[in-house]
Symmetry: C3
Subunit: 157 residues, 3 copies
């Protein structure tokens, strides 16, 4: 039986997502079974990039949250209204660090499982259509706990 | 013997507290033994709601921290001077998501153990009288480590 | 064989670093084997205190990040442009709480292992010369995962 790792990605920041996917892909590449649970702001990481995650059926407040917390992920320090985030992306490119987009492609190739938190999806008015196709499952805390109990490494990011 | 989970709640934000208590109550409801260690800003989550956690014996700086970091918990992104936090509370209500208050009531009913960090309580000038009655114990890192070593899931939130 | 603990220190904030080193030193003092992996903003915690971590070979953006995210660590809430951080340091002193500097000295005496993340060091243009001598090793996610799999407690801070 394979060693397992779970990550709860609560944060919607680019640097934290890079850290999470760096760990996830390295673990999966070394033969571990990895699940990432996206909840709260972490859902922004798996929103479709082509559009704002809004639709007619959403409440006004849901639309506001989805526009303000868009797929343009900030960084967790020195974001400076997005300048810091753009600078970090450039730096990552210049120093040959794998971008979040490429880490996420790699994660899928390596079979990392994406689970979107049902409860926070409902709060934010997010459905399957707003999220990338790579999401494997919608589930809640019960599913997370069952996997985490069987895992050697559990992180909350 | 029951499976155990520990959570260190370092953050004093409403959304992170909801995530922590959501996990804690789901785990406890499924038969796990859960302890939450409240430290630093996480102590704001267990302050009495009826008043500011200040008293005559506190240093001026302790009073300032306790007034500024009050029981009106912000959210970790898009707080917008409290507007975001109020919006999220409304959204949670409209989408039938359990509020932090109700999650905390449930946690107590399910026997989730609350441990307040002695060291940071002393730094902030907080005593038993400033915190809700549900706190089971005041303890430090040694107690945490003893429990975490026996637990299947350990999270820092 | 000794019980192990790993901590990923992603955050570059004083309060989170104090929490991390408090746990690390308590664990090491009780006979556990502890490793701290410093990545992203966490690298600021192990920068030399005497100077800005800049050098001629760095890219302009690296210099900017290293100057802006200096060794003057903010706190994660109520930092108020550094005032909060200074207040918290004073409070820690007045209430006889061990300072971050002293916790770090203690950690070294107790044999806590410091590992600096190669990937983020490269992104930030940080080399051995910019970091304190206490760093034991430069390594990546593979090294972390190998240790975490053998550990009873793994935290992401």
């Amino acid at each position: 039986m394979k060693d397992k790792m779970t990550i709860i990605l609560f944060s919607g920041e680019m640097d934290k997502a890079v850290a999470a996917f760096n760990l996830a892909t390295t673990a999966a590449a070394s033969g571990m079974e990895v699940s990432i649970f996206f909840t709260f702001w972490g859902l922004n990481v798996i929103k479709k990039k082509s559009e704002y995650a809004i639709s007619k059926s959403q409440l006004l407040m849901q639309k506001m949250f989805n526009i303000l917390a868009s797929h343009n992920l900030p960084i967790s320090r020195l974001n400076m209204f997005g300048l810091g985030s753009r600078m970090m992306k450039k730096l990552m490119k210049k120093t040959n660090m794998t971008s979040l987009e490429d880490l996420m492609k790699l994660a899928k190739e390596l079979g990392v499982k994406y689970i979107a938190c049902t409860t926070t999806c409902e709060m934010m008015g997010l459905t399957k259509e707003h999220l990338i196709d790579d999401v494997n499952e919608f589930a809640g805390a019960t599913t997370y706990l069952a996997e985490a109990k069987e895992s050697k490494i559990n992180l909350f990011i």
